[in-house]
């Protein structure tokens, strides 16, 4: 237990050191650059405080976060269902494999623009566009997992007549957990970037919208301030949500 605490502390120290080093490099480069193009940490910090003090930062980050979560949940559920079905049923896999490759290679921009044209400039279109971008990635990852399911355990489930529901819950999903975790991780990073583009193109709120407006007046400190704020939120989700959850999922491992 003690070594665990020490390890935790050392890890925090390393994270702090790494952030300080980043700020130092940034400051150093900014000293030689045009301050309008690359403002230093102090000016970006001031912009951050500004945005926070009138509440705009929290509102926009909150709205973006809500869109990220909505499209993320949608993409995970639909993608997992498709992936598991393709991994378990060879006929479906043969039939839809090339569809999956097509959607995997469809540029995010095309999906976003088409969603706005077909569904209108509304929230549903925004969330759908992001989800459609993420679904193929989730499906491909979960398909790998579903193909690699342990046959011995499935036979055991069949002999003991666990039925579909309990087999899924106790036998299949735990084996897919690492694949879920994988697509959750890569998904979080991908989805929030796409959400910003969606907001830039067709919404009048959220981090993407603010960055779009700042771009029009070349307000680089605001662009960086919002980008950093959101990256911080994603980092917090990783540290406070995903990592503890993963530890919980893995506690049965030796």
């Amino acid at each position: 237990m003690k070594s665990y605490v020490v390890g935790r502390r050392a890890q925090l120290a390393w994270s702090a050191l790494s952030i300080i080093a980043f700020l130092a490099v940034w400051q150093g480069v900014a000293a030689f650059a045009d301050p309008r193009l690359l403002p230093g940490p102090a000016r970006v910090g001031a912009a951050l405080v500004d945005a926070a003090s009138d509440g705009a930062l929290f509102v926009n980050v909150g709205i973006t976060l809500a869109r990220v979560l909505a499209s993320f949940v949608l993409a995970m559920v639909v993608g997992a269902a498709i992936g598991i079905a393709l991994g378990r049923i060879p006929l479906l896999d043969r039939m839809f494999d090339s569809w999956l490759i097509l959607f995997l290679n469809l540029p995010a921009l095309v999906v976003i623009v088409l969603c706005y044209i077909w569904l209108g400039l509304n929230e549903a279109a925004a969330v759908t566009a992001v989800a459609v971008n993420k679904v193929p990635n989730v499906a491909v990852t979960l398909r790998e997992g579903a193909r690699a399911l342990d046959r011995d355990l499935l036979e055991m489930a069949a002999v003991y007549r666990l039925g579909r529901g309990r087999t899924l819950r106790h036998v299949i999903l735990p084996q897919l957990a690492p694949y879920f975790m994988g697509s959750l991780r890569s998904g979080l990073a991908l989805v929030w970037k796409i959400v910003l583009v969606v907001e830039l193109l067709g919404r009048s709120s959220g981090v993407g919208f603010v960055i779009g407006s700042a771009f029009q007046v070349f307000d680089v400190p605001t662009i960086l301030a919002y980008a950093l704020a959101f990256a911080g939120v994603v980092q917090a989700i990783e540290l406070l949500l995903l990592q503890p959850w993963e530890r919980r999922l893995n506690r049965w491992r030796r």
Partner: protein
Amino acid sequence: MTGLKIDILRKRYPAADGSPARRIFEEFHLDVETGTFVCLLGPSGVGKTTLLNIVAGLDPDYSGQVVFSRRSRPCLAYVFQTPRLLPWRTVLENVMLPLPPGDKARNSALSLLDEMGLSDALNVYPDRLSLGMQRRVALARAFAIRPDILLMDEPLVSLDEATADRLRDHLAAMLEIRPATVLFVTHDSLDAVRLADRIIVLSGSPAEIVKDIRVGLSRGERRDKAVVEAFRRDNLAGDR
């Protein structure tokens, strides 16, 4: 409980990756009366596990049929060669798994695990247990559903002698309380003599029953090494 009647007209494994096609069973018949403990003895690859898989319904790729005498779809438990426990569920959860959820399941799982001497390991994950203990958990899971038919595929293999002895005693004690028709696959004739009412020796390709021996030993005699050795020498010489 129920007996069963196995009629396999043909079971083959097709040629694959350079290994030739194998004929496992042709015109194979075996009747097992209700409540009998049958040991299937024979060399590796003769088709013992295949036979269990066919009875369990895991291998539908054969022509023929398996008919159960009293119930068309009997309650069937299978103790596999490897324990096949869910590594992400605790010992207790693994034993409760095949039961309808509830307090009743919990209580019967608890008492089974207690009988198997596993009360201290209820909340342990299987990977942290020795193979012998994992096998005991698998046995508890099998008895949890109160099976009519119990299939066992070399459940004592790769255990040291003392652990195997203990598991054998557990199995015998369990069957006293919860009788079942048993098909027990082994390549160890010692196991066969110590446990079985009837020993079937399989050999050849396609497999044939070369010996069908009734074992009329009492419980006391089965524990007597000399008696078991003598029975083995007289009846199973050459079958290991």
